[in-house]
């Protein structure tokens, strides 16, 4: 299943998804990220994980679900077109494992709308860190 990660066009250190846990193509995908104190965002000091990087990790999870469904045979160029209704909850900290879940709402060959959520691991109460009503992704015209 980790073969799916190669579909992401993102490279180090922007590849923020570490492992795909489960996938039901065209329906939903679960993945995890390990928040590390060695990430560039902590170059100046340790603290809560930046909200927008947590959002980016969930967006990458959503992109994986769409790309898996498209049966792309390599990295595909996907850009973020829009985000609607993103609400942040508990802050993730270095050492946390967070679990992302993306659900496909609708898709065409060029555009997809997904919903998603990110929760802290069970050891941290499994509490919500982020919920997003709509992530809109677009494939770049080539």
């Amino acid at each position: 299943m980790d073969d799916l990660l190669r579909l992401l066009p993102h490279g180090y250190p922007m590849r923020l998804v570490d492992r795909v846990v489960s996938v039901r193509p065209g329906i939903e995908l679960e993945a995890v990220s390990v928040i590390s104190a060695r990430e560039p965002c902590y170059a100046a000091g340790i603290g809560p994980y930046p909200a927008v990087l947590l959002l980016e990790a969930l967006i990458q999870t959503a992109a994986l679900l769409w790309l898996a469904d498209l049966e792309a045979d390599g990295p595909a160029e996907v850009l973020l077109a829009a985000v609607r209704g993103a609400r942040f909850g508990a802050a993730a900290q270095p050492g946390d494992v967070v679990r992302h879940q993306a659900v496909l709402r609708s898709a065409t060959a060029r555009r997809a709308i997904l919903a998603g959520r990110t929760d802290l691991a069970q050891q941290r109460g499994g509490v919500p860190a982020l919920e997003v009503r709509e992530i809109v992704l677009a494939r770049r015209a080539t």
Partner: protein, 128 residues
């Protein structure tokens, strides 16, 4: 409060504190750009949201934490060398909940074309 990204280079408050204009010059040295994407750096859409958050902090005069992204739309990619001009306004007529401030941020490129916009909810952070 440290930030991981210099997402606003300069900011000027105007209209008696109701609005501000911020500038962000995209540089290849911005963190994470080497991986977004390898060989073709593009300022990530979520970083434009971070620019918006930092611009709202500048408008309000203190650090803020992101509570919600009501909406964010990205119309065109920003690359190293590009300049984003952010117009920030409070949306006082919509108060999401006590202590939460809503702001609207429109981002233009150097020739005035819209590259994106977002509506964010933030909460002031009181350090210490």
């Amino acid at each position: 409060m440290t930030t991981f990204l210099r997402a606003v280079d300069s900011l000027a408050v105007r209209d008696g504190g109701a609005a501000a204009t911020a500038v962000k010059r995209i540089v290849a040295d911005d963190p994470y750009l080497v991986g977004h994407f390898p060989g073709e750096p593009i300022y990530p859409g979520v970083f434009l949201v971070e620019s918006a958050r930092q611009a709202v902090a500048g408008l309000l005069g203190g650090p803020v934490t992101l509570v919600a992204v009501v909406e964010a739309r990205f119309a065109a990619p920003l690359r190293p060398g590009d300049v984003a001009l952010l117009d920030v306004k409070r949306v006082p007529e919509q108060s999401p909940s006590p202590g939460v401030i809503r702001a609207r941020v429109v981002a233009l490129d150097s020739i005035g074309a819209r590259v994106g916009h977002c509506v964010v909810d933030v909460r002031a952070v009181h350090d210490g």
